[in-house]
Amino acid sequence: MKIKRILALALACMMMLTACGSNETETETETNTTTENTQTETETETEEEEVEEYTGPKDYRGWTTSRATFNPQMYTNSKTIMNAGTLVAALAENDELVWYPHHASELPTTTDGGTTWTVKIREGLVWSTGTALDATDYEYTFKMLLDPKLVNKNAAYAYDPVVIVNAKEYSQGNANWEDVGVKLVNDHELQITLQYPASELDFYSMIGSLIWPVEEETYEACMNADRTSTTYGTTLDTTPSSGMFVVSEWVTDGYEKFVRNENDPLVKEGWVKLDSYTSRYISQNATRAEMFWAGELDNHSLTGDDYLQYKNDPRAHSLLSANVWGYFMNGASKNTIMQQKDFRNALHYGTPRETICEDVYKLYPAAPALISTGIYAGDGYYRDTEAGKAIAEKYATDYDKAVELFNKAYEANGGQPVSVEYIYFEGQEDQKRQAEILQEHFENLFGSDRFTLTLRACPPASAYDLYRAGEYDLGLGVRLMGNVFNPWSGLNVWKQDYADPYITGFASDEYDQLWFDCMYGDIATDTAAKVEALAKMEELLLDYGCFVPVMQNNNCVMYHERVELATENYLPFIGFSTNQTDLIAAA
């Protein structure tokens, strides 16, 4: 009996010692060993331990870039408006994207095939100021969003790509509010009438998710005398919250802090685990990296230089970007060689996108076509369809073809040496590298006696101004795809009547017609036909040579080991759903 007791005591002591030792995160085992001693065993599951649930404070330490306003009608980066509620919430559940009623009491419904939508608003919703939030707030929000005097940046969310009847006309001062397709049925119900039928996905992801309500009392109090601008959302006092989080602190160019909104229906239903979310304004990636490794931040984006070390790290999570970066080509440039289609196509086929991606960006894949692999067309990815694959194959890098096309263009240009200017963004080291590779590569490929590429660094805003004015030959940039579920809507930027065009010389009636047919015309509900049309649109753009795709910026984010993501899969529209993140340990 005594021996048993002694053995039990010894076992308990051993267990205690083991437990103390296991608190160390790193256990040194050997030093100065050579490769010969390396073992193949890599990862071992520890014995099943009862891990106590973390009950301490859960403050996520994120970062962001500087913010001028929380006014949801002016601010364009929707993912960081954590304090704004929506009709419908996009959430992660079982590693899948689900649409869930947020301020709506149920998902909006339609009875006539997608033209008229009924939105019922929950009862008992309140603003962080304590005032009630109901359908009248949404009606007021639509009215202010489209106000012709205010000219809000996000007004287009009400008419592009989902078109509310007379919304655009009202915003341009050509219609009365009574004619706009937003009608208040009662304090908890709105009826929204569209000009063209929309699918549930389009309605939820646009009107449902991108119309953030504003509080009337504060909005009016912040309005100037002639009602042409408002200071709503520019200070903490003028920023009422209605989302899953409430803005509790905000120091301009310092940090912002959001705390969980206990009155929010999704919070009440247990979708939110964090107590608070603190975002510090850190513009330099190197600073963020230093802070992350020092344990002061919960996430940071890897650069190509450190990707090599961490690509297999379980903390590293790859994103699937919806955008393809490359450079614009101005077919309407005064530089005569730029006006030649053969020359522009030579640049497309001759661009060393694989080299740029593998050796400069390292973590980004090369993209020979305009539409990213993260874009959906129907149930699957567009790039996985036969039509999508055929385009990527047709426009893949081909140096021989590039030289052949260049020779043709060179002869057509009178056999004179040609010089073309390439604009890249100032202060962006990787983009400068890309420019230098292009310069060296093209001059070697086409012959430095025949072709010269001059480089010019420009601040991004100035560069885009030059694109709008058509004062450039080649210019680095991107046209963002607004909605991953609706690539057709994002392609409106290449239409002849687009409001904010970059001059590339591309103008095609066929393209415009295809776009309309896909969005609102005969094939709007026929996915297969829309995919074919999408491929044709992509082909028209690439064939003309208005934009040379280079890479898809699939970033890789490192999350601190204490972070428990809501989903292991990167989901369209919400990514890793930051709002639902949990923390399982103290910082």
């Binding site: 256990t27 050997e30 593998e358 400068k432």
Partner: protein
């Protein structure tokens, strides 16, 4: 007793004008001294102004060392790029950010092209790491969400890893595989060019402006000096950024930025020298003899300022190089793919933690240049100082 006033006879003043106009025949002059000169002859060689300065400069050992460093850096800036088989634009994109590898030294484990990396032990089995692992510094267990993962800190031969075994990049490469040795000396050449040219132009402007202001004085001086004060009051950084934004980055833009206000210091110094010397007797004598203003300024007064000009210009060179580096560091550097020390530093700083060699060598060169030019300038100042004569 009454006092008697005595009236003294005062001789009439000489009419100098009249005397000057009178022609005195040569035979009315007579030699006071004889033909023989009794002065002692100089036994040594006559020492001129510059030789005297050089003799005194040579005595200052630190300045001589500084001069040697400057000569070496200038030599390397001119000939260094020719010593490498790589061109400054030549890219080996697959050999990006390789650490330095120097023959002979690599046998001693110094500059052997290795880099320490923290890896998962499983990574070492991957094809790319197979021959590249030189040694493992440490193995440890890393705990991640109830999993124990074996990690190592390993020294990786980056030349093996990237397939560059046959190459030697003695200062390493940048992230598109360009030889840093060539780019650094090329960049030094550009920085020195910007420094020397801008200082030369500043000296020309400053000397002319300061001379005119100092010589004429009065209203001319007042107006000219107010102009310098207004120009000097505009913040350098703001003006530089606006200037580069309008003209675009480039060597010419940089030189223009540096001469916008760079000549003011020189002009003030020269003005002060003119105020000091313009009333000296020899200047008055020359003026009396009918010398023109141009002759007085450039032949008689300005040479007195040669020492301070050279000294100030010497100090201005590192200042110009530093300004160029500073602006480049802020992202306003000269146009790619041309390097300069500032551009290389700006590029290196972004990857300081992963590729420190990209910052180390440019930082070393600019530090040496700053130190050497300042020590050289100190030596020149002492050498040209007349108070130090004979010491």
């Amino acid at each position: 007793m009454s006092k008697k006033l005595v009236k003294l006879e005062v001789p009439a003043p000489l009419d100098v004008e009249k005397i000057m106009q009178e022609k005195i025949p040569a035979d009315q002059f007579e030699k006071v001294a004889g033909e023989k000169i009794f002065d002692q002859k100089f036994e040594g060689e006559a020492i001129g102004f510059f030789k005297d300065a050089w003799l005194r400069f040579k005595r200052n050992k630190s300045s001589v060392v500084a001069l040697c460093i400057i000569v070496f850096i200038v030599f390397m800036a001119i000939f260094g790029p020719m010593m490498s088989k790589y061109h400054f634009r030549e890219q080996h994109t697959e050999f990006g950010t390789l650490p330095p590898r120097i023959p002979v030294l690599e046998d001693f484990g110094i500059f052997d092209g290795t880099q320490q990396m923290e890896l998962f032990k499983a990574d070492l089995e991957m094809e790319e790491f197979k021959d590249a692992v030189v040694s493992i510094e440490r193995e440890f267990i890393w705990k991640y969400k109830n999993k124990e993962i074996e990690k190592v800190i390993a020294n990786i031969n980056m030349y093996e890893y990237t397939g560059a075994e046959d190459h030697y990049f003695i200062f390493g490469t940048d992230n598109i595989g360009r030889d840093l040795f060539v780019r650094l000396w090329r960049g030094t050449r550009i920085s020195l060019l910007i420094g020397f040219v801008s200082v030369f132009i500043n000296v020309c402007i400053g000397v002319t402006y300061g001379s005119v202001a100092g010589y004429y004085g009065g209203k001319v001086d007042m107006i000219m000096m107010r102009i310098t004060e207004i120009l000097g009051g505009v913040p350098f950084l703001v003006m530089s950024i606006l200037f580069i934004m309008v003209l675009g980055a480039g060597i010419v833009s940089f030189i223009l930025v540096l001469i916008l206000t760079g000549w003011i210091g020189m002009a003030r110094m020269i003005r002060a020298q003119f105020y000091r010397y313009k009333d000296y007797e020899y200047v008055m004598a020359s003026r009396t003899m009918g010398a023109k203003d141009r002759v007085l300024i450039f032949r008689h007064i300005l040479p007195n300022a040669i020492g301070p000009i050279i000294t100030q210009a010497t100090f201005a060179v590192p200042s110009a190089i530093f300004s160029e580096s500073f602006l480049s560091y802020l992202g306003l550097g000269i146009q790619a793919p041309e390097p300069s020390i500032g551009v290389l530093l700006a590029e290196g700083q972004r990857v300081l933690t992963t590729s420190p060699h990209l910052t180390l060598f440019p930082a070393l060169i600019i530090s040496l240049l700053m130190l050497a030019f300042n020590m050289f300038g100190n030596g020149l100042r002492d050498a040209f100082d007349p108070r130090m004569r004979g010491l």
